[in-house]
């Protein structure tokens, strides 16, 4: 179903491919509204999925340019070279994106984290407390859904957390 790609002129096609790769790498993917006049919803979805899959497959199996070109020429003869060029220029980024996807191959993976240090000057009972507190917020991707986790820790708790993380890192280093 990639023949529909032939309906676009070459510059637009290159741009579309680049934006698809952007989406693959975690940036903003192209939206259908821009191409609404060219393709129907079904065509759009099919084209998008098959192009993305093609990029993933070509980078993942590390196939040679000739193989990809042959495959492309079967599907969409007109822009085969343009698509191949996009693939050649973005090979590294796609590879990194695929690697990070593989890294997150467990039930829950850390997507993002942020921390801020706060100083509690006093409480309702003690006038001068001066206790540092760390609030740590984690964004955990769990079965595809993003779940925020917020923790506030005192100094001792934080050092316990850090020591356990260091132990985990040590195990990782031993694996190497």
């Amino acid at each position: 179903n990639m023949e529909v790609l032939d309906r676009l002129p070459e510059p637009d096609c290159v741009k579309l491919c680049h934006r698809l790769v952007d989406g693959l790498c975690g940036r903003e993917p192209p939206c259908r509204g821009e191409y609404g006049a060219t393709w129907s919803l079904q065509e759009w979805a099919g084209l998008r999925d098959s192009l993305t899959a093609l990029f993933c497959r070509a980078v993942g199996s590390n196939s040679a340019d000739e193989e990809v070109l042959a495959e492309l020429q079967k599907l969409c003869s007109r822009h085969a070279h343009a698509v191949l060029n996009v693939l050649r220029s973005r090979r590294r980024e796609v590879r990194l994106a695929l690697l990070s996807r593989t890294d997150c191959m467990s039930s829950a993976a850390l997507q993002d984290f942020d921390w801020s240090l706060k100083l509690a000057l006093s409480s309702d009972k003690i006038s001068s407390l001066n206790t540092p507190l760390l609030s740590l917020s984690l964004d955990v991707r769990e079965n595809g859904a993003l779940r925020p986790v917020a923790v506030e820790m005192s100094k001792e708790e934080l050092s316990a957390l850090i020591s356990s993380l260091e132990a985990a890192n040590k195990v990782m280093l031993q694996m190497k």
């Binding site: 290159v14 680049h18 940036r27 060029n85 220029s89 973005r90 590294r92 942020d114 100083l119 694996m175």
Partner: protein, 635 residues
């Protein structure tokens, strides 16, 4: 000396809150107003309850002034001043009195500055003080609605757009390295298509976060690589590329081993595969879809085969029995027959089980015998080949037998020739060998030396790395301490440094010591002089007595000697008088000096001026009294 004291006093008074003009730099220049203000402020600080009722300025009316002076003197005595004090101290001031009073009051002042410097210093204290100051400043500002907030409030009261830290991956050309750097397509992509980093985000909020994140990730990766390279990479004596590729190969091998070891136990216990293991099998299957996994996985043990076999047989038997069972429907016999059949079947089952056991045992036995037989066969074959070789040797010997002598000689010559050749070759080999061995040894030595060299250099490099690390750390630490000290220095009070005072005090003490020494010297001088005078007087007396006696003896005989005796007596008398006069002059001179000093001090007390002022004030009081009396009369 006194200027120093005055400066300290004036500084202390300024700190208390008295407004002393810039050009006033000694106590002499103090006016009554200034003095009253300073004393009142000091008393307020020393004892707020006592100082609260005192006015810091002199009233215009003379009698009121007098009262203020009286109450101030009383307050000073209450605080603990022991010296002479009265209203005159404030109204008709003399310099020494004021100085001693002010010195007493300043001594009494609570040591604010000492407390301030005794506060815990250090980084945390500085930070906490800064926080406290910032909060105080924020509390001082009035709250205003966000709409009408001034730039002044922006910092503290803006409801602000606080963005949470969300990152997005971004692409920038600088961070890539490697062989594809020079690819034409990559260059074109970067030139034509790749938007600048600032345009790569859907929302501008995550831009800074993403940039920071990217930078931190690259930095930590570089640091990790650096550390690893320094600790292990250098020791492996490979180029970085080689080291990397070796590590990659090692990792891959390890992963493969892990996967294999995870896969093995599940194939061993194929009968009781647990759930997670089967999941892993799925994963593995998807990994190598083309590989003939079926074969590996389904290859069960002996036991599974027998088990399977047994169960299928039994099922077949059961299937054969059931139709007969269902055909007959007489209910009476059914149970009995069922039981019979059950027992029969159980017997059969047991029979079969024991059969199976037997068979298994048989199989095992036959397997063992099979192996034994195989071993035997091998041994026999070995024996055969040996025997064949022997046979051939014997055959040749038999062939040679007919011409035995000839053959023996030939053989002997052959043997000798070959022995010679062997010796020859050995000598040649020796000749060749010696230089080769030398060469080998030499090369080995060079090799070991180079090894040593390189390991030494490696350790040097390592120690250098460590040193660099340590010194950067130290530099950082020192920089921080420097900054901290700088802030502390800024926060310290700039004026009246303590060290200057102590130095001054030390100087004064040393001066006093010197003066004391001089005084003792003068004293000892005086004492010596006294001694000399005494001894001289004694000598004189004795000489006079002797002379007097001698002359007196002769005086009875000779007239001229008598005259001379008279003269002697007169001389003695006159000299005594002279000495007396000199002593008197000395006492009078001392008295004069004392009086002059007294005059000086009286002059210092400004008695005349004060008297004039007292007269004026007296006149003023009389006028006031007269005015009051007139008012009373009018009233």
């Amino acid at each position: 000396m006194m200027e120093e004291v005055d400066r300290i006093l004036i500084h202390a008074l300024r700190q208390v809150g008295t407004e002393v003009d810039e050009d006033v730099d000694s106590i002499r220049q103090f006016t009554s107003e200034l003095l009253v203000e300073g004393v009142v402020r000091c008393i307020r600080v020393i004892d707020p309850g006592l100082g609260g009722g005192l006015a810091p300025s002199l009233p215009p009316g003379m009698s009121a002034r007098f009262r203020v002076g009286m109450s101030l003197a009383q307050a000073c005595q209450d605080v603990g001043y022991k010296g002479e004090i009265g209203y005159q101290t404030f109204l008709y001031s003399s310099e020494p009195e004021i100085r001693s009073l002010l010195m007493f009051l300043v001594e009494k002042l609570p040591r604010e500055s000492a407390e301030a410097s005794a506060q815990p210093s250090g980084k945390s204290a500085v930070l906490q003080r800064a926080i406290a100051a910032a909060i105080r400043a924020q509390l001082d500002l009035a709250w205003v609605p966000p709409n009408c907030s001034l730039p002044l409030h922006c910092e503290t009261q803006s409801g602000g757009v606080l963005n949470s830290f969300y990152t997005q991956p971004l692409s920038s050309p600088h961070c890539t390295k490697g062989s594809e750097e020079n690819l034409k397509e990559v260059k074109e992509y970067r030139r034509d298509v790749l938007p600048p980093v600032t345009a790569q985000f859907s929302s501008s909020a995550s831009m800074v976060a993403s940039l920071l994140e990217q930078h931190a990730a690259e930095l930590s990766a570089a640091q990790e690589w650096d550390g690893e390279w320094k600790s292990q990479g250098l020791l492996s004596r490979l180029t970085p590329q080689e080291y990397r590729s070796r590590k990659l190969a090692r990792l891959q091998k390890r992963i493969q081993e892990q996967l294999r070891s995870a896969a093995q136990p599940s194939s061993e216990s194929a009968f009781g595969v647990s759930r997670p293991a089967s999941d892993l099998m799925d994963v593995l299957q998807s990994f190598r879809a083309s590989a003939p996994t079926e074969h590996v996985l389904k290859k069960g043990t002996h036991f599974t085969h027998t088990q399977k076999f047994t169960f299928t047989q039994e099922a077949a038997a059961a299937a054969a029995v059931t139709p007969i069972l269902s055909a007959q429907e007489s209910s009476g016999d059914v149970q009995l027959r069922q039981q019979e059949e059950l027992s029969a079947l159980q017997a059969q089952f047991q029979q079969l089980c024991s059969d199976v056991d037997h068979l298994a045992a048989d199989m095992r036995r036959t397997a063992v015998t099979h192996a034994q037989v195989l071993d035997e066969l091998k041994q026999r074959e070995l024996g055969n080949t040996e025997k064949e070789e022997k046979l051939q040797v014997k055959k040749k010997t038999i062939d040679l037998l007919p011409e035995a002598d000839n053959n023996v000689i030939q053989l002997q010559s052959l043997v000798e020739a070959s022995a010679k050749r062997v010796v020859n070759l050995a000598s040649q080999w020796e000749k060749r060998r010696a230089p080769l061995i030398d060469e080998h040894r030499r090369l080995k030595e060079i090799c070991s030396r180079q090894d040593l060299d390189s390991s030494r250099k490696l350790s040097e490099i390592k120690s250098l790395h460590e040193k660099i690390h340590v010194s950067t750390e130290e530099a950082k630490k020192k920089e921080e301490t420097y900054k901290q000290l700088l802030t502390e220095l800024e926060s310290l009070p700039q004026d009246a440094s303590r060290s200057a005072y102590t130095q001054r005090i030390l100087e004064i003490v040393s001066n006093i010591k010197k003066q004391k020494e001089e005084i003792t010297k003068i004293l000892s001088d005086t004492r010596e002089l006294q001694k000399e005078i005494n001894s001289l007087t004694g000598k004189l007396d004795r000489t006079f007595a002797v002379t007097d006696e001698l002359v007196f003896k002769d005086a009875k005989k000779d007239e001229s000697v008598r005259k001379s005796y008279k003269y002697l007596a007169a001389l003695h008398e006159n000299c005594n008088q002279l000495i007396q006069t000199i002593e008197d002059t000395g006492t009078i001179l001392r008295e004069i000096r004392d009086l002059e000093e007294q005059i000086e001090t009286e002059n210092g007390n400004k008695t005349v001026a004060n008297l004039e002022r007292i007269l004026d004030d007296f006149k003023a009081i009389r006028q006031e009294n007269a005015a009051l009396a007139a008012k009373v009369k009018e009233g």
